[in-house]
Symmetry: C2
């Protein structure tokens, strides 16, 4: 298989003020295209470090570089690449035309700083960047491909999908790769590992297994690689059937990356509508659904009932319930979920109420105490969670995943 | 300054199914502690690749390694480190006691797989991991420190803060570093760069500037390094005063990483309450505020008014307004913001309504058309945004940032 090294350039990455999502986006796209990302290296905006990272290219067929192409002073990649490949900077007609077009669309005047973005090393081929002014540059050097891309995530992603990967596929012959995701919930990674060990040991050579635990949910990813698609599909199908036999009770769904995606797919396919009433999750359930295009087909809306007043006025929770049982209680969760479902007129509803932390707990209801309720027209289910940790975001994310899992469960159940 | 190399191990990172947040978290913490992260390398769960990454340690004082310590089959780091340092695996009393304690707290029985987590190379010092069963291991080898940490983000972060960084500080002498963030909104990166170029060129040697554009907001980060805190502070203060003189109108705030953090801080300090009515942002404003501990002090709650019915029933938007002007209109945005402020009884409110994309636009209202409104007791302001792109998440994130910027503006204004 053809191997790739990714070099992400940027002081902001090494100072930790920006999360390097480019590396994961590029890796995912390359993997799906049949390339093996063997290494990611992140270096700062310093000439020596970038050169060292470029020099260390033995054993890779492709080196992809992001960053350092912007119009600002701390960006130096382009001049460096020019020297590295013993070339000279020339103004590219293609790149200049692109910069002009983008400034015309935006109605801005072209400044000298912007015009300088059309300068590229003479030895490269410019791959047109439809979304931005920084050029994408393709170099072939000693039987190896080097590509320099802008670091802006959406420009990089568009260029990878529309320019770089198609051209890499033309240049290299790629193996078939099939990925299969199985989402499990309600069992820890190590217990799952113990449970499925015999199955795992019996997997054929062409299949690799990875455990991807995220916020209470463990995604199992099977990756099959080989020359022939049909035999890989058979091997994966056989493995999945075996997994259901020993761990079926923990499997929530397949073929999705996240439970939010599974909920999105399930509700869309079944034509069911949803409303949310969120206290401790504070809008995270709603935002993780509405982040997906097409959510308006099933998501009616929700209430972020952070204060008790809002629980009463917007959801119809009884004052007496709050007084007798408190905001974090089964009774409140049930009234929230039924209130939002009725008021917003949806088929299904989710409610959360709890203490996400790090503070705000009591001896009876410590940090990590959360009630989740889900409801359809005939049935309401509530569940108490007790997270051991005081980490706010973790408790929120685990609550969201557990709520999605309960929702899938109530949809697939018969009542 | 002492330099650090970070090695993150995990096939899941190279397959792009998990974003490597560990690298940015560690980098931020190390930078704040006065270390320079010179390089991050990500490699898969393959012995050769990990060894090569370890071998490439020349020029670094510290090598930090994450991942590969879990109880599952694809984790191999520990055995590899044992061979690498010519040691042998022994059961650590400290680590075993920790594993026992954690299983007792969780009420689970210890399996052989879990007990094996207490095996460590004899030559290392175990730094106790209070939050998990994977050990943190400190090696000193040829005047260099190697530390192996678990890859689970919250365990890694806790260990860095409580074990690794304090011990690194003991071991090395660290320079003083001061970071200063200035948040700007309403001007593109390249225009800002042109505007402040004379100021930037006149910055003293000890200060480095970085542009960190995120979703329409550009964060300028000044980093001062040197032996003496007081002179660094003076240099930073002087530079910031100069920046206000030439770009003050674009500066929204200081000393925060994000506008959500700035809103959180501002509302908390001023004792003002907030409610939200979100259509196109779908709960993202609420969730980015409630992600911060203490949000309940000012955030009353909100409505995710995704469908028109919810805009009417939960916010009191008039049917006639929706019919005459549509859901994406100034009139609807104003009724949403005033409706949610009145109904939830807050001092301030934010409303968003728009077409996030990638589909759903019309010739009159293309994808990227967004209305934002903010209100206090006496005043409502609305603004039309027209984003050029069809990227959903980008349009949502830019709307959120612009809404936060408008909120800060209305708070600081006199009416």
């Amino acid at each position: 298989m053809n191997t790739v090294k990714i070099i992400n350039i940027g002081d902001e990455l090494l100072l930790g003020q920006v999360v390097n999502t480019n590396a994961s986006t590029m890796s995912r796209m390359l993997t799906e295209a049949g390339f093996e990302v063997a290494c990611v290296e992140v270096v700062g905006d310093r000439r020596d470090d970038i050169e060292r990272a470029l020099d260390d290219h033995a054993g890779y067929d492709v080196v992809l570089i992001t960053g350092g192409l912007g119009p600002t002073k701390d960006d130096i990649t382009k001049k460096l690449l020019c020297d590295y490949f013993h070339s000279e900077l020339v103004e590219s007609e293609v790149a200049l035309e692109n910069v002009r077009r983008i400034f015309a669309v935006r109605g801005f005047e072209l400044t000298p700083v912007n015009r300088a973005q059309a300068l590229v090393p003479k030895c490269c081929e410019v791959l047109n960047n439809d979304l931005g002014t920084a050029p994408c540059m393709w170099f072939e050097h000693e039987n190896r491909v080097f590509v320099s891309l802008p670091g802006v995530p959406f420009e990089m992603e568009w260029l990878m999908a529309n320019r770089v990967i198609p051209k890499l596929r033309e240049t290299f012959r790629t193996e078939v790769i099939i990925n299969k995701n199985i989402l499990t919930q309600g069992i820890g990674e190590s217990f799952l590992s113990d449970l499925i060990e015999p199955w795992e040991l019996a997997l054929p050579e062409c299949i690799r297994l990875a455990y991807l635990p995220v916020a209470g949910m463990t995604k199992l990813r099977l990756t099959a690689r080989g020359p022939q698609e049909s035999s890989l599909r058979e091997a994966i199908d056989h493995a999945v059937r075996g997994l259901y036999q020993i761990a079926g009770q923990y499997i929530v769904g397949e073929d999705c990356e996240t439970l939010a995606e599974l909920v999105h797919k399930t509700l869309t396919e079944r034509g069911l509508s949803l409303a949310t009433a969120e206290s401790c999750t504070g809008g995270t359930i709603a935002s993780s659904l509405t982040a997906q295009a097409g959510a308006s087909a099933y998501f009616k809306g929700g209430v972020v009932a952070y204060s008790n007043e809002v629980k009463v006025c917007a959801l119809g929770v009884q004052h007496s319930t709050l007084e007798a049982h408190g905001a974090v209680s089964e009774e409140t969760a049930r009234e929230m979920v039924e209130g939002v479902r009725t008021r917003l007129g949806s088929d299904l509803a989710i409610a959360t109420t709890g203490i996400a932390g790090p503070d705000g707990g009591t001896p009876e209801k410590p940090v990590g105490t959360v009630w989740i309720a889900v409801a359809n027209a005939t049935h309401t289910e509530a569940q108490l969670l007790s997270f051991p940790g005081r980490r706010r975001q973790q408790n929120i994310d685990r609550t969201v995943n557990q709520a999605f899992s309960m929702l899938i469960h109530i949809i697939c159940q018969k009542h």
